[in-house]
Amino acid sequence: MRAVYGIVAREFVRFLRQRGRVLASIGRPFVWLVFAGAGFAAVFAGRNEIDYRVYMAPGLLGMVVMFGSLLAALSTVTDREAGVLRMVLVAPIRRRTIAFGKALGATLLGTAQAIVVAAILLPFVHLRPTLAGALLGLIAVVLSGLAMGALGLVLAASIRSIENFAGVMNFVVFPMLFLSGALYPVRHLGPVLRAATYVNPLAYGVDLLKHALLGGWARAGYGGELPVPLDCAALALFAIVGLAVAAPLLGREGGVTRTAFRERR
């Protein structure tokens, strides 16, 4: 559909025009690899089953998708503040098509970033995925991107302005990252935190990426832990529920609000 294409194309044009955002998205995983990687590698020293930097690779790719897709979907907040969202809402498109277009744009942006990062990161840590592994990795990235994009839309609809962004980072992004298995296995966590990993979309994405990339270390306990179909189904469910919740919330944003009256009367 042309409207969806328009929404996706705009996301890409905006992204590529923001030089800083491009560099940050490519550079961020390497910063983590160098600094967090060095620290954790020292802690893990003496356990020779896997190089910690290899262990980190799937998690870092998951992180790229999370930031890429979540931030892209969160740009809906700026769209709303700048008024652009209204142009979209007054167009003859269904609300769910708008939500889907936004989430798809976020997914493709996150996927493109993950592919670029993977092309540099995997050779860097001497990880050579099999063809099947690469395909599964791509599926993992796309599904994670959709789930993150949908989550980003729900968050964007519920935060009033971009100033609340720090809250999102502290209470959504960081917990999601640390409870995803990206940096350390989560099976040793206490029952409460472990339970939290089951409602964390990134945990399924990272698990799927471990299936894809760390198959050779599965026996040593570093591969994916949940069945592949379960990971896929969970991510798809997050995406569908997120879109279903976000679509009507987006529609609410078009008209004048009560606040307009309070300010002006």
Partner: protein, 250 residues
């Protein structure tokens, strides 16, 4: 045969305890230039947003271009153009990119959109600025680009919500020139809201809203005669008893 472009019956909207629009009965004829006047918070923008399907009415019904605003929102949005009080252009994209984005949102094929965008840019004197980011444009140019965006899909009804707010007199005059040409060329129905009362003088008919209620309705001449007033501004004051406000109204 004249059909109603807009037909609102008992249309109203509440925001919690606040009654933004009470019960509005309003008929705008096909091809009419209709002015909606009122002080701040009178319910002008609320009316426009209800008619444009951006808000769900709390009571009453409305048909726009013959379609119900609640049940046939998509069809209504297909027939209307809406220029909002505040710009809706993406400031980081160029003028042409914004119009291309809008063309895609309205599902116009590129071969239809391209010549139309060129023609609009020429008509609105934006040809030289087509590849400049919108953020570098003056207020008047932005407004012109907003209106070009609003009519790109050739709507049959155009809503202009305070289109001249914040523009200098020259930009205002050239804007009205363009809207006059547009109406002459296409027979477009235009519903204008404004608090610059004198701008409603060329309207076929004018409605005055106050506190969410219709306070007066008629041709400018009728209203002036009925109020024993020499100008629309006096009519406005007679019906609303308000001072003319400085800023935009809800």
């Amino acid at each position: 045969m004249t059909t109603a472009a807009i037909d609102a019956r008992g249309l109203g909207k509440d925001f919690a305890a606040l009654r933004a629009l009470d019960r509005l009965d309003l008929e705008v004829r096909d091809g009419e230039f209709f002015g909606l006047l009122g002080p701040n918070g009178a319910g002008k923008t609320t009316t426009v947003h209800l008619l444009a399907t951006l808000l769900a009415p709390s009571r009453g019904t409305a048909r726009v271009a013959g379609r119900d605003v609640v049940r046939e929102g998509l069809a209504v949005r297909r027939s209307i153009g809406l220029v909002f009080q505040e710009t809706t252009l993406d400031r980081d994209l160029t003028v042409a990119e914004n119009l291309r984005f809008a063309a895609r949102l309205w599902s116009l094929p590129a071969r239809v959109a391209r010549p139309r965008i060129d023609a609009l840019l020429r008509q609105f004197a934006l040809l030289e600025r087509r590849d400049d980011p919108v953020r570098t444009l003056s207020g008047g140019m932005r407004r012109a680009a907003d209106i070009a965006r609003g009519i790109l899909h050739e709507p049959s009804i155009l809503f202009l919500d305070e289109p001249t707010a914040g523009l200098d007199p020259r930009a205002r005059r050239s804007l009205w020139e363009r809207i006059r040409h547009l109406r002459a060329a296409s027979g477009l129905t235009v519903l204008l809201t404004t608090h610059y009362v004198e701008e409603a003088e060329p309207c076929d008919r004018v409605a005055v809203l106050d506190h969410g209620r219709l306070a007066a309705l008629g041709t400018p001449a009728e209203l002036k005669r009925a109020a024993g007033a020499g100008s629309l501004e006096e009519v406005f004051l007679a019906h609303t008893g308000h001072r003319l406000a400085e800023s935009d109204g809800g």
